[in-house]
């Protein structure tokens, strides 16, 4: 199946004008599969960390959202231990007007603003609610341990 023009355009733009703190590089053998890295936002427990993700564009993209998953271990109430992300724009709130770059920006924003009220990793969310400082400290430790630049 030929690659839709939109994907080619998006890839070209990601290469030509990358978003600061985010990189997305397609695999040579499969241009729908991207290796992504996101820098942890400053003033968040993920600061100084670089997180690896994988992003896959399904056949009916952009009518359906891309599939994104964290590869680096991360302590976050909306990201489970398999790296799956609980983010509305990746599920019910997807719109074909969104793009790879906007999705990755949303994920970066999610790192800066964890939402324990809509959890995916229940234990993390519970701890985040009960003892936020300890949870943030764990998140910092994990960042140092697994996401060190």
């Amino acid at each position: 199946m030929a690659l839709p023009k939109r994907i080619i355009k998006e890839t070209e733009r990601l290469m030509a004008e990358p978003v600061p703190g985010i990189s997305a590089v397609p695999h040579e053998d499969n241009l729908r599969y991207f290796d992504v890295t996101i820098d942890g936002p400053s003033q968040s427990p993920y600061e100084q960390g670089t997180f690896k993700l994988e992003l896959f564009l399904p056949d009916d993209y952009p009518m359906t959202p891309p599939k994104v998953r964290f590869l680096t271990k991360i302590y976050h109430p909306n990201i489970d231990k398999l790296g799956r992300i609980c983010l509305d724009v990746l599920k019910s709130n997807w719109s074909p007007a969104l793009q790879i770059r906007t999705i990755l920006l949303s994920i970066q924003a999610l790192l800066g603003a964890p939402n324990p009220d809509d959890p995916l990793a229940n234990d993390v969310a519970k701890r985040w609610k009960e003892d936020q400082n300890a949870a943030i400290q764990t998140a910092r430790d994990w960042t140092t341990q697994y996401a060190k630049k």
Partner: protein
Amino acid sequence: MSEYDDDRELYYLGNEPDYAASVLASGFRAAPELDFAVGDLDDFNFEPFVTAAPRGQTSRTASLLQSSGLLQVDEFQRLVELKRDESSESGTYSPVGLRSLEYVTTPNENLICAICTSPFIKPVELNCQHIFCEECLYDHLKSGIQSASLCPKCRDPIESLCPTSRLLTQLLDELEVVCPNEPCGCKTLHKRYTIHDHVSSYCDFENVPCPAADCERFIPRRLLNGECLHSQLECDECEDLMMEMELEVRVLPTISYSISLTRQQDHIKNKCPSGLLCCKHCALNLRRGDLAEHHARDCEKIPISCRGRIIGCPITGPRQFVNEHMKTCPIALMAPHIQEQNERQSKLQAETSQIRSQLIDLETKFDELEASFKQLSTSIKRERRQSLATGGTVSASRVEELTGRLDELALDHNSRIDNATSENARMHMNFVNESLRNQQQFHTFNATLTVMRNQLNMLSSLRATGNNANNTTNAANAVNAANSGSSGIGLDSVRREPPKL
């Protein structure tokens, strides 16, 4: 506008009255103020852009979609589906995929569809006034995700759709695109609404079905001349099989497409060294490149003449026959020697003529010298007479000087004359010697030839008189007698060693 209404009426009455009724029942209402979008522009051959398909049913449906003013979402979906079915059933050949077009300049961002990120194709406007391509919106509505019923941009519920303003359509039409056959060589740029016409009717690089009835392949329009060019050929230029239509491109990669097809046919029929030709003498099939060698060496049937032709053997005929003849022909055996002799003679002649021209050159120089000497001596005499007449104004020393110079000149002149004379004599001697030698050789050769002729005569008489032994002895005696009677050279000596020519 009226044409448009007719169309719609026809459609309702003729094709799908039930559907029409259902549309009307579900609150369909026309929006006449927006009704012009397509119908008016039909006159400008606008249709290909709107429908990307030939006129007919499909266009009528598309027009309906564009013109029906406010449409409910489900009506819209049904119409798009209807149109898709029709175009797939009629198998319309649509060469241009508008989505894959390359735009010459980056279009204004307001003309870009947020879903496909390309300039709108058949734009439709939602109730929230956001605009998307018809196809993109249809795909979105059909995607089955939770937000499929919301506007992709503002997430307002999609309730109805309507055609976009004429201004937008015109802006889109004006966009300049690169011909989709650009990779094949078409370097033309077109307004987007004319690209379909260009590709389907004019583009020289567009592949069109082969004109041959039994051939299902395609051929670039520029090579179209009513013949099938898909036959396999072998060409020496590239040593492998190729199609006739490829030849132009592969042999001359930079060829301009304006060069007509005849050139490539000419190559195949008259020039290509790999083309098979039939030898007209032996009916053998050969490559054109090998034919000359075949004629010169191998062909058994080509007429040639005996090698002895230069000294009078009249035999000519096919190579096979003449080769047999030459094995027995004495003239043919002699021919190489005679040819060698002839060559040497012509070489000598050339040398002689060269020497002669040199001699003539020297003589003219000599004459010139003599003339100048005479002139000089008369002038000196005149001067002396003048000096005497003027009463010795010229001093004795001057006279002496002049006399000395005169003597010098005379000496020089004499030596030159001597040189020239001796050179002349030498040349003459050379020439005479050379001529004598030639004459001698010629005589010798003549004698040899006579002997050979005699032998030949004798042999033929022998053959004529039969083969019995007595006759042979008689003939031998006769030959001996003839030898002793003829010139100084005997037959035996001729047989043992060839005469020194």
